[in-house]
């Protein structure tokens, strides 16, 4: 009995007969050989390669060879086979068992099996495609009439040749013979076998088309296609570039890299006129068409290898080439199609079942790798007959009884685990990305099954663009009853995964191990940055880049971007421009020479402070920036804030009220930290900011460890003036309750004041009344960029543009700095005002760089410096103006006192001393009394705070002494 046992189906005889004239290389017919293997089989012979011969007529060069090799072996064997098949194919054999390739490399001939156990014909459900992603439930069975094999199965011949096949190999063609025959139950399906079941799609033709596509596609077709659709196309550097047979290049590369996956951009199918039809076939019948394509791919791999061997391409000569070809024979090749337009996952519905779909989403969960049983191996406990059962739509059907007629014992089939075959599988839960969820809806989730190479490619948190086959399978509601309820679960069998789809920022590559998640496969879109040239395919990223580049050439880009920042807020143009430049940031510089870790670093981050009256939309600006900024943190000085904070409820000792005290501030490295109510922040938190803003580090002492972390953060802060309203008669340091050392660390400081102006007020009132009471909100339509585009623009500039200061710009910077320093020079005044310090120079450099970045310019030029200076001047003008003199004085920000103020203090000090010199100075004069007396002497009102400062300094010098508390304080002149 033995070897060639059950393979044959009696009914299929005619088929085979017909085939006899031709060679036996019928592809993709279910090879029934697997079942043949008995327990002792070292391995299953069903070589994938042999399964489908490529029937393309143009494969001539090899034909002769293959023919020679196969002829003579096949036919006799086949006959033997057929006649020897003692077991009738049971009619119960699944009509739908599709045949894919049997992909176990044959290292042993099938009939070398010990023949002890008859294997059952039921096992005609031979292992299908080992590809986990495709469980075709239909057979690919081009009929012989359509698929007249004009040559021997090249693959199989090659295969056994390489294997030095002895006689046993003879069965190989044989084993492929059943492939030729109709699927398991031919009686049921008389005609469909030539096509995809239930359709008019002819698989042979499909394979032919795909073959032509792979051989004939050239980048120029894609370019023409894109042009027709009005998409931007790449210009080929030379006409030859467009003429390269693209996929042959890929095939060679696959061989060289040992890769077995070909990523196929389906748009290319559309672009190549002869293969247009394939696109819709692939989309509609992926589980039939993809295996067919796999087969064509393998054929072509071999063909190309063969050509290369014959032409003596480097690395393919002689025996090396033979080995190479043998390797190819043993591999499973997979076509991974992608490039369908992504649909929203909530639009997937039952009509998409078994079609190829493409969705985008966010991985929220991934299981560990699951060994997925592909082929189950059963052995009858009674007669030791073995049966292999393949997975069918996610399930393995356990044979209820021993299929051997002689035995037929019920319930004796037991699973032999170590003879089963497993593949890697992983289940991923993919959630809709926020941008895809309709307003007011919760995100939906779908399950993905990924297999083999795609396992562990994505991790929770990744955004993916996934192409896969949509499945609906019945759910067994009550496992005990073994009945199915009319419920189905749906999932996607993934054929292609692309990381980082959608989202302006994509994912942070730095969080990935270097080269750790290269997607498997060669081909379209595999590695966009470097391969787009070869492919002639413009990736979305490249398109985005082109759009952004184009945007950056707009003459008014600066204005457009500034306008787009918080468009709902009127005016405040310079504030917006300043913040815009903050978002771009200057370049970080470090001095390479110097001790330790390469010398000091100079920060490129720009810090901005807004000070102003309540109700001037400062908070709105902050909120907006938080939305666009990379890694933005929004916090309110008062405490309730974003992530990572703790706080404490305490009873205020004075008022006995419960108050919320904020804890530590969490800063993100490389982000923008927006701090509202900066003035209300606790001193402890603020002291952290000192370090952050200048050194860009945070020191942490915890659990006995002292460490310094990087915190390259720009700070955007908003503060309210000390009173509820900004007092324009006082210098800024008196208006904000912040230490001057901190204020000076802001590159730009803007005052946002609410000025009373009748005309403006009326306009505002009119606007508000209309808005709030009339229910007819009018919206302006201006030329602004949507949020995501702005965000993408900034992100691109930050990551790609690193401007260098030109000589001109450098000279201009120096000139501007000198000018600014001279602004305070007043020949008439004896004292020297400080208008600019080196801090301002650094700020100017950063702002110039940011401006150049904003223009996407690699060089900082004159215009950048000019604008930076203008912004600086504007900011200085509003913030460092000494209200007493009307002059700009940076000293006010740096030391907290303006030079005018310093002069005034000197005067006051003299005044106080003279008052105290007079009556009763030695005994002491009441605090208030001194102020009164001083006021009588002076022409200007005595400021009590100033007075306090002066007294304190006098006290420090030991000239006076203050005794008593509060109202009862006495000032006593000390005898020097």
């Amino acid at each position: 009995m033995s070897s060639p046992p059950a393979i044959d189906f009696p009914t299929s005889d005619d088929d085979v007969e017909m085939e006899d004239g031709a060679e036996h290389s019928m592809p993709n017919v279910p090879p029934a050989q697997e079942p043949l293997f008995l327990a002792g089989t070292p391995s299953i012979t069903g070589t994938p390669a042999r399964r489908w011969g490529s029937n393309a007529p143009d494969s001539t060069p090899l034909r002769g060879v293959t023919a020679r090799r196969a002829v003579g072996m096949g036919t006799p064997q086949r006959n033997l086979f057929r006649s020897s098949s003692p077991l009738a194919f049971p009619s119960s054999s699944p009509a739908k068992t599709p045949r894919r390739r049997v992909d176990i490399p044959s290292d042993g001939p099938p009939d070398s099996d010990p023949l002890d156990f008859p294997s059952s014909p039921i096992t005609a459900r031979t292992p299908k495609n080992r590809r986990g992603d495709i469980h075709s439930s239909l057979s690919i069975t081009p009929s012989k009439s359509t698929l007249q094999p004009r040559r021997l199965d090249y693959n199989s011949n090659r295969d056994f040749n390489d294997l030095n096949s002895d006689a046993t190999n003879l069965d190989v063609p044989l084993s492929s013979a059943p492939l030729l025959s109709a699927p398991a139950a031919p009686t049921d399906e008389p005609d469909e076998i030539r096509a995809i079941w239930g359709t008019t799609v002819n698989l042979a033709e499909t394979m032919k088309l795909f073959r032509e596509f792979l051989k004939g596609f050239k980048p120029k077709y894609r370019a023409a296609h894109d042009r027709d659709l009005g998409l931007p196309t790449r210009v080929f550097s030379s006409p030859e570039e467009g003429e390269v047979p693209l996929y042959e290049t890929y095939l060679r590369r696959m061989r060289q890299m040992g890769d077995t996956n070909l990523n196929l951009d389906m748009v290319n199918l559309l672009a190549y006129p002869p293969s247009k039809k394939l696109h819709s076939q692939l989309f509609k019948y992926p589980q039939e068409v993809i295996p067919a394509m796999d087969q064509v791919l393998k054929d072509l791999m071999l063909e190309v290898a063969d050509i290369d061997q014959q032409t003596g391409v480097d690395g393919m000569e002689g025996t090396v080439g033979d080995e190479e070809i043998a390797d190819i024979m043993g591999r499973i090749y997979k076509v991974r199609p992608f490039g369908l337009p992504a649909v929203n996952m909530r639009d997937l519905n039952p009509t998409d079942t078994d079609k190829l779909v493409c969705i985008k989403g966010l991985v929220i969960r991934a299981t560990p790798v699951i060994p997925d049983m592909k082929v189950a191996f059963f052995r009858c406990l009674t007669c030791s007959h073995t049966v292999q059962v393949e997975i069918d739509r996610g399930k393995i059907e356990e044979p209820a009884r021993c299929p051997r007629d002689v035995c037929a014992s019920v319930g004796t089939m037991s699973l032999v685990h170590n003879r089963c075959e497993f593949a890697d599988r992983q289940v991923i839960r993919l959630q809709e990305t926020p941008d895809a969820v309709p307003d007011g809806q919760t995100p939906h989730t779908v399950s993905l099954s990924v297999y083999d190479e795609l396992v562990d490619v994505s991790k929770p948190g990744d955004r993916l663009v996934v192409s896969g086959i949509f499945r609906s399978v019945p759910v067994r509601v009550n496992p005990r009853q073994r009945t199915l309820k009319s419920l189905f679960k749906t999932y996607l069998d993934v054929v292609h995964v692309k990381l980082g789809g959608g989202g302006a920022l994509g994912f942070d590559r730095s969080t990935r191990p270097a080269g750790g998640d290269r997607l498997p496969g060669v081909g379209d879109g595999g590695n966009e940055d470097e391969e787009s040239g070869v492919e002639g395919r413009q990736s979305r990223k490249a398109e985005m880049e082109a759009t952004l580049r184009e945007l950056s050439t707009k003459p008014d880009i600066y204005e457009v971007l500034a306008r787009s920042l918080a468009p709902s807020i009127w005016e405040m143009d310079d504030v917006k421009k300043g913040i815009l430049l903050q978002l771009f940031g200057g370049t970080n510089k470090s001095i390479a020479r110097g001790g330790g870790g390469g010398g000091p670093r100079y920060r490129g981050d720009i810090n901005v402070l807004l000070v102003g009256d309540p109700g001037t939309s400062k908070s709105q600006i902050l909120q907006y920036v938080h939305k666009i900024a990379p890694r933005g943190v929004y916090t309110s000085g008062k405490g309730s804030s974003a992530v990572g904070l703790t706080a404490y409820v305490t009873r205020d000792p004075d008022s006995k009220q419960l108050v919320l005290e904020s804890g530590a501030l969490v800063l993100s490295d490389g982000g923008v930290c927006c701090i509202d109510e900066f003035d209300k922040m606790s001193d402890a938190t603020r002291s952290v900011l000192h370090e952050v803003m200048e050194q860009q580090t945070v020191s942490i002492a915890k659990a006995g460890i002292i460490t310094t972390l990087n915190a390259r953060t720009s700070i955007l802060a908003a503060a309210n003036p000390v009173g509820s309203k900004y007092d324009v008669n006082l210098p800024i340091t008196r208006n904000i309750d912040l230490p001057p050392t901190l204020i000076s660390r802001f590159d730009l400081l803007y005052l946002v004041l609410d000025q009373v102006d009748e005309a403006l007020d009326r306009k505002l009132a009119q606007h508000l009344v209309g808005l709030y009471l009339e229910d007819a909100p009018a919206r302006e339509t201006e030329d602004i960029l949507p949020l995501h585009e702005l965000s993408a623009y900034i992100d691109y500039a930050r990551s790609k543009i690193h401007p260098v200061i030109t000589e001109d710009a450098g000279a201009e910077l120096v000139r501007s700095y000198v000018d600014m320093r001279n602004m305070g020079d007043d020949p008439r005044a004896s004292e020297k005002r400080i208008t600019a310090t080196t801090r301002q120079l650094e700020s100017m450099i950063r702002l110039s760089e940011a401006h150049a970045r904003m223009r996407f310019s690699e060089f900082v030029e004159m215009q950048d410096v000019k604008e930076a200076c203008r912004l600086m001047r504007e900011a200085i003008r509003t913030s460092a103006m000494d209200p007493r003199t009307g002059k700009i004085d940076m000293g006010m920000l740096n030391t907290g006192t303006a030079s005018g103020q310093r002069k005034m203090r000197d005067d006051m000090r003299k005044g106080i001393l003279s008052v105290l010199e007079g009556a009763g100075g030695a005994r002491g004069i009441k605090w208030m009394e001194v102020i009164k007396m001083l006021g009588e002497q002076s022409s200007v009102k005595v400021d009590t705070a100033e007075f306090g400062e002066v007294i304190r300094s006098l006290e420090n010098e030991g000239l006076v002494k203050v005794v008593g508390e509060r109202e009862k304080r006495m000032i006593r002149r000390m005898e020097g």
């Binding site: 019945p474 309820k485 679960k489 409820v649 008022s655 009220q657 009326r762 009339e774």
Partner: protein, 512 residues
């Protein structure tokens, strides 16, 4: 003939369903027409806490007024045609195909799966009329984490909608009519022993207005005197006789989201100097009970270190199951936030996130649901009244702060629901309800002259006094609109404006 339809449908909805062809829209229409009249509709047994799922027969017809809690379960795919061409879906078809092979994929259809809970904060007087005797002893909700108030009794049901389920959103309030049974939830489907939850196969559903009971504006029974009575009643029963505070509470409670762009959102109110509950007292203020008598949806959010740090205010998806949070409340809710339970201690990350969620709901009327790796902002429409012991709210920035000035000594601010609140006559109560219900849905406009007047007023005041900002004007206009609504005016008049200024003036005076 027609008369027999209702009892037939009530007695055996499956039979009626079997006779239909299973096209969802037709099923909806059929059952809708059967129960078109109010009488017929009211005959359907309600599913409430008084009539929990256990008292209903399996596969009986019920109606369930519910808030949609979770819309994130994936839609379910079912076989719409079973063997023999019989109708599938609605839980029919336990006998379905054992043979996986002969499924016609063309017969697969989708139904939407939600989780729905009884409406949080629903006042007892809105309960649907029913003939059945109450029976609440046994019900234990299967997924208690899916109800906003932790540990509170409620009914939670898995809802399967076959027709037009896409239109429903989280926190929508809907009356579902359908067949009640028990099924495993989707996530459990493939477990060996899935736990069963009450499941409602919806035949049709009706939206419920934010006032629960339909109202008109202006309410015909409303008069200025009635409004005065209402304010006095609130003041006397809940606020120790402070009429101004009561008026502010009323104004705040009728506030709703007017528009999102530009944002015209409800006013938030703090009643400061509101005494904390004494030891051993209930922590629910009498104000909640008083408001619950007249407003249909009133919830209390008791802030304490425990609720802050250990409970969730915003819904959060854990293991693909959306857990509810205190603030997952239907539109039109009044939320009384009590700070009386706060003691000294640490507030941790979750607590701060919770505080931020409340602040965000107040400032923007949005609530962020937390999903893995993403957050989704959902629109809310909740009127907040914060009761704070201090001079102002400890945690929140609030539009209007009204220090409480009790006139009744030794007033009990905390009472249990059934004791101590004097309920006015039934008719009066109905009139109160109609007044606030009308105000909640009404709209007012502004005349040319008043608009002119307000503008002049603003310009002049700004000239006269420093410190009046555009924010003040906005605030005043919001109050004026609410005042007009509470007076059931169609238009904001100069008179209303002056009243608003007076009310604001008195409030500011208290603060000073």
């Amino acid at each position: 003939m027609v008369s027999a339809l209702v009892p037939d449908a009530l007695a055996d909805p499956d039979a009626v369903l079997q006779d239909l062809d299973g096209v969802p829209a037709r099923v909806t229409d059929h059952f809708k027409s059967i129960f078109a009249s109010d009488d017929a509709f009211n005959e359907i047994p309600p599913l409430t806490l008084d009539h929990p799922p256990e008292v209903h027969k399996d596969r009986s017809l019920v109606r369930f007024r519910a808030m949609i809690q979770d819309t994130s379960p994936s839609p379910e795919i079912y076989l719409a045609k079973r063997s023999g061409g019989r109708c599938g879906g609605w839980g029919l078809g336990d006998d379905a195909t054992t043979q996986a092979d002969n499924i016609d994929y063309a017969n697969l259809k989708e139904c939407t799966v939600f989780w729905a809970v009884s409406v949080p904060g629903e006042s007892p007087w809105t309960a649907p009329v029913a003939d059945l005797p109450p029976n609440r002893a046994t019900h234990r909700p299967p997924h208690p984490h899916k109800y906003p108030v932790p540990g509170a009794p409620h009914v939670g049901v898995q809802v399967k909608i076959y027709d037009a389920g896409d239109s429903l959103r989280s926190t929508d309030v809907v009356t579902f009519v359908g067949i009640l049974t028990s099924e495993p939830i989707q996530a459990d489907l493939e477990l060996a022993t899935p736990s069963l939850v009450p499941t409602l196969h919806v035949l049709f559903f009706q939206p419920v207005p934010p006032t629960i009971v339909p109202r008109v504006y202006p309410s015909p029974s409303a008069t200025p005197e009635l409004r005065d009575e209402l304010i006095t009643w609130i003041a006397d029963e809940a606020l120790a006789g402070d009429r101004d505070a009561a008026e502010w509470v009323l104004l705040c409670a009728i506030a709703r989201v007017q528009s999102r762009t530009p944002p015209i959102l409800p006013l938030t109110l703090t009643l400061s100097h509101f005494p904390s509950p004494g030891a051993g007292q209930t922590t629910i203020p009498a104000l909640t009970h008083v408001l619950a008598q007249i407003f249909p949806l009133v919830s209390t959010l008791p802030i304490s270190l425990h609720t802050l740090n250990d409970t969730s205010f915003a819904p959060e998806s854990k293991n693909e199951d959306l857990h509810s949070g205190w603030l997952q409340l239907p539109a039109g809710s009044v939320c009384v936030v009590t700070e009386g339970g706060v003691t000294e201690g640490g507030v941790f990350e979750r607590g701060l996130a919770n505080l931020r969620a409340v602040q965000e709901a107040m400032n923007a009327q949005t609530l962020e649901y937390v999903f893995p790796f993403s957050r989704f902002a959902f629109e809310t429409d909740i009127a907040f009244v914060v009761l704070s012991e201090g001079r102002k709210s400890t945690f929140f920035q609030i539009n209007a702060n009204v220090p409480l000035r009790p006139t009744t000594p030794d007033f009990e601010f905390y009472k249990s629901a059934d004791s101590g609140v004097r309920i006015p006559g039934r008719e009066k109560l109905e009139a109160f309800r109609a007044l606030v219900g009308g105000a909640k849905i009404g709209s007012v406009s502004i005349g040319e002259t008043t608009a002119e007047f307000i503008q002049d007023d603003f310009v002049n005041e700004r000239k006269a006094a420093q410190g009046l900002t555009s924010d003040d004007l906005i605030h005043r206009m919001m109050v004026a609109r609410l005042l007009a609504l509470s007076l059931q005016e169609k238009e904001i008049t100069v008179e209303v404006w002056e009243k608003t200024k007076a009310l604001e003036g008195r409030r500011k005076a208290r603060l000073g």
